[in-house]
């Protein structure tokens, strides 16, 4: 066969090149799209988790105030109050911490690292003991006998 017959032939090249370029551009666009979508999901997940932690923290702070109100009514009082909270927020496990020094409820996830702080406004704030509980059903305990305010896993 005489190769020279096709050596100068350029027919069909532009179609192949165009196809390859199309594929490359499509791949870049798709990658960018997927990256953006993944990033959006991640951002939304963090926002959702933060929002949910804030709501849970406020519910815990409100329950602490309820328990404090009850304990102050008489003497030698004891209050044990259970509160239901989700086990996870946006699929993330979290920890609830009753912070003794700052008188706050801290809700924290590890990956990604999100921390929400809710101030606790109770009359006997100096009774607060540094305690923590895994997210889920927790209890609040106020004991006037040993002047303590604690939380724990119910």
């Amino acid at each position: 066969m005489d190769n020279r017959k096709f050596s100068g032939c350029r027919r069909g090249v532009s179609t192949t090149l165009s196809y390859a370029l199309n594929l490359a551009i499509a791949a870049i666009l798709v990658s960018a799209l997927l990256f953006a979508a993944g990033s959006t999901v991640q951002d939304q997940r963090q926002v959702t988790a933060r929002e949910e932690l804030r709501v849970i923290g406020q519910r815990i702070a409100a329950a602490l105030q309820d328990a404090d109100r009850m304990s102050r009514a008489g003497s030698a009082g004891y209050v044990f109050l259970e509160i239901g909270a989700p086990r996870t927020v946006a699929g993330l496990q979290y920890t609830i911490i009753l912070n003794e020094s700052t008188e706050q409820v801290l809700l924290r996830t590890s990956e990604p690292d999100i921390t929400v702080k809710i101030p606790v406004s109770i009359a006997n704030s100096d009774w607060i003991e540094q305690t923590s509980a895994r997210g889920g059903r927790i209890y609040i305990e106020i004991n006037q006998t040993d002047n303590s305010v604690r939380i724990g896993v119910a």
Binding site: R11, G12, L23, A26, A27, V30, L33, L34, A37, G38, T40, V41, Q44, R45, T48, E51, E52, V55, I56, Q58, R59, A62, A63, D66, A67, R69, M70, S71, A73, G74, S75, A76, G77, Y78, V79, F80, L81, E82, I83, P86, V89, A90
Partner: protein, 324 residues
């Protein structure tokens, strides 16, 4: 001319990238929807009322305190000179048992256990000083006019009520006075009557007498003076109340200018030191008299629901000063 390829064989592999992308985007959308769902749930959680148990527990405590106050008042009102402290205690125990049972049944309907611990209450005994004859003068059992001392070394006083004849009340110069003195400080209230009303004055610790704290119109024959709540015929009198609402403890109670005034009265005292009821009373059922009664009762309340355990000790002393 190049030949067009048939669909099939190699054509089946086409658009794989778009297909994979489509799946990935679909998955992303599902993830976002799930997150949105979580957000909606959280917002719902935020607007949802939390457990009602704490409110119900406080409601139970208030109801128990009110009920106990009524029981104490009823027992004191029914008490007479022949009752001993043991009689009073037995009556209180019986009433507490009935009250506890009634409250327990009422809250059982809501799925809660409400208990007033009637097995370990503490009764703080008191003395009821009383004159129930509204036409008698305010003097002592010997019917000597002027001034007389009702008690010395009084710890606290609560529920001080007078029902005085309006016609017999005097103007400020000779007004009926109740004088409280702890040897160092004193507090004195004047109850002065005028044609159409009653005026209350207060004097304490060497200061000059206050202007009239209130001038309450009176159209009836008798005037109800409540020195615990600071009212005249139920109307507030600028906050005058027993020792200005700050009962210091350990003082004497003295009536002054009583020879003309007449009416009934009662008050409940808690012992202080040195406590003494002078020999000025009728001990055979006449007026005025003193009776063993209840000053206050300390009792344990328990309220339990599936999510709450609440225990507290409350002290009930109806119409006591704020520190009593």
């Amino acid at each position: 001319m190049a030949e067009l390829r048939k669909l099939g064989s190699r054509g089946e592999d086409r658009a794989q990238l778009i297909l994979v992308t489509g799946f990935a985007l679909a998955f992303t959308l599902v993830a976002i929807v799930l997150l949105l769902n979580t957000t909606i749930y959280t917002e719902n959680l935020a607007s949802r009322g939390i457990d009602r148990s704490p409110d119900e527990a406080v409601e139970f405590r208030v109801a128990a305190e009110d009920g106990l106050a009524d029981i104490i008042t009823a027992i004191n009102e029914d008490a007479n000179h022949s009752d001993s402290l043991t009689d009073v205690e037995n009556q209180l125990s019986k009433s507490l048992t009935n009250f506890s049972r009634m409250m327990g049944r009422s809250y059982a309907d809501r799925g809660s256990i409400a208990d007033i611990n009637n097995r370990s209450f503490i009764l703080n005994d008191g003395i009821i000083l009383r004159q129930d004859d509204t036409s008698r003068r305010l003097w002592n059992a010997s019917e000597v006019g002027g001034n007389w001392t009702l008690a010395t070394g009084v710890g606290k006083t609560r529920k001080v009520h007078f029902n005085l004849s309006h016609d017999h009340l005097q103007g400020i110069t000779n007004a009926f006075r109740i004088n409280l003195s702890d040897g160092t400080n004193y507090w004195r209230v004047y109850i002065a009557g005028y044609t159409n009303g009653v005026r209350i004055y207060v004097k304490e610790d060497g200061a000059s007498r206050s202007p009239a704290l209130c001038d309450i119109p009176v159209n009836s024959d008798y005037v109800q003076i409540d020195l615990s709540e600071g009212t005249v015929n139920g109307e507030d009198c600028n906050g005058y109340s027993w020792w200005g609402g700050d009962d210091p403890g350990n003082y004497e109670i003295r009536f002054e200018n009583i020879s003309v005034n007449q009416g009934s009265y009662s008050m409940v005292l808690k012992d202080g030191s040195p406590y003494n009821i002078p020999n000025n009373y009728n001990t055979t059922g006449g007026n005025p008299t003193y009776i063993e009664g209840i000053y206050s009762v300390e009792v344990q309340l328990e309220y339990t629901t599936p999510t709450l355990q609440y225990t507290t000790n409350v002290t009930v002393s109806p119409e006591a000063p704020h520190n009593g």
